[in-house]
C-alpha cells in the first residue's frame, strides 16, 4: 500500500473497504464457483461436520476467550443458565435471554 494512498484515505475507511471486499469474496467463492452442483460424498461428509466444529469453537471463544487470553468470568454463570434452559427444552430466545440476564446480574453484584 503506497504511503500517499494510505494518507488519502482515513484508516477507518481503509479497514471498512478492505474487510468489506474480503468478506464479500469469502462468501462468494463457494456459491459462484460451485454453481448448483453438489459435492462428492466424501467431501460432503466433511462439510457436514463443519457446523459442529465451528459452532463449538464459537462457543469456546465467546465464553472464555479474550484478546490472547483465556478469561473465566461471569459469562460462565450465564452459560450455566443457558445449559439449564436448553435441558428444559426452552425456546432459543429464552436460552439467550437467560444467559444475558444471569451474566448481567452477576456483574452487578
Amino acid at each position: 500500500m503506497s504511503r500517499r494512498l494510505e494518507e488519502a484515505l482515513s484508516s477507518t475507511w481503509l479497514v471498512v473497504a478492505i474487510v468489506g471486499t474480503g468478506t464479500i469474496a469469502c462468501k462468494a467463492i463457494g456459491p459462484v464457483l460451485l454453481g448448483g452442483r453438489t459435492l462428492p460424498p466424501q467431501l460432503a461428509g466433511i462439510v457436514d461436520m463443519l457446523a459442529p466444529a465451528l459452532l463449538a469453537a464459537l462457543v469456546v471463544t465467546q465464553a472464555v476467550g479474550a484478546d490472547r487470553r483465556l478469561v473465566f468470568d461471569e459469562r460462565l454463570l450465564g452459560i450455566a443458565a443457558a445449559i439449564v434452559a436448553i435441558r428444559l427444552r426452552a425456546p432459543l430466545l429464552v436460552v439467550v435471554v437467560a444467559a444475558a440476564g444471569v451474566t448481567a446480574l452477576a456483574r452487578l453484584l
Binding site: 468478506t23 460451485l34 448448483g36 459435492l39 461436520m49 457446523a51 466444529a53 469453537a57
Partner: protein
C-alpha cells in the same frame, strides 16, 4: 469509528464478529493491517460455509454472489436440516431479516449507543455464547458430530492464548475432518 463508516461496514461486511474484531483493534490504536487481518481471518470461515450452501442458491453468478452475502452464522445454522441439507426458504428469509435488523441496528447504535451503556454490563457477550451453544446442540445428531465438536472446541481452547483473535476459529474447522468417509 464514525456513524457513516459503521453503517457502511455493516452493509458490506455482514458478519458481526469480524466487525467487532476490526473495531476493537482500531480502537486499541492497532494498525490498519492488524485490524483488517483479524477481521478477514474471522471471516475466512465463510469459504467452507459458502461451499456447504452452494447447492441451494439459484441463478447466474451475480445472483448467486448476492444470495451468498445473506449467509451468516445464524441464518446458516437455522436453515440446516438434521440430514445435513439446507432449507433455502429459511436461509434466505432469515438472512434478509437479519441483514435488515443488522444495518438498522447499527445505525441506531451509532447514533444513540452511548445512552445504552456498556454491552458487557448487559451480558451480551454471554448471550452470543449461549446462542452458539443452543445452535450447536441442534447440530448434534450423531456420534461423529460429537467428536467434531469436541475436536473443534479443544483446538479453539488451546489456541486462544497464543494466536490473534480469529485464528482459533479457523484452526478449529480441522475438526470437520472426522467427517471423511472411505468409499
Amino acid at each position: 469509528m464514525g456513524t457513516l463508516a459503521s453503517v457502511v461496514m455493516s452493509a458490506t461486511t455482514f458478519a458481526g464478529s469480524a466487525q467487532f474484531a476490526a473495531a476493537s483493534v482500531l480502537s486499541a490504536a492497532g494498525s490498519v493491517g492488524a485490524a483488517a487481518t483479524a477481521a478477514i481471518l474471522l471471516n475466512a470461515r465463510y469459504v467452507p460455509i459458502g461451499i456447504s450452501v452452494a447447492s441451494v442458491l439459484r441463478g447466474g453468478p451475480l445472483r448467486r454472489l448476492l444470495e451468498g452475502q445473506l449467509v451468516v452464522d445464524e441464518s446458516w445454522a437455522f436453515s440446516r436440516r438434521r440430514d445435513g441439507t439446507f432449507d433455502r426458504g429459511v436461509l434466505i428469509g432469515a438472512g434478509l431479516v437479519l441483514y435488515t435488523c443488522w444495518v438498522t441496528g447499527t445505525a441506531a447504535g451509532a447514533l444513540g449507543g452511548e445512552a445504552l451503556g456498556d454491552p458487557e454490563s448487559l451480558g451480551l457477550d454471554a448471550a452470543f455464547a449461549a446462542l452458539f451453544l443452543a445452535l450447536l446442540v441442534l447440530q448434534i445428531h450423531s456420534r461423529r458430530a460429537v467428536v467434531a465438536a469436541l475436536v473443534g472446541g479443544t483446538i479453539a481452547f488451546a489456541l486462544v492464548p497464543f494466536t490473534a483473535p480469529g485464528v482459533p476459529i479457523i484452526a478449529a474447522t480441522a475438526g470437520c475432518l472426522v467427517g471423511w468417509r472411505k468409499r
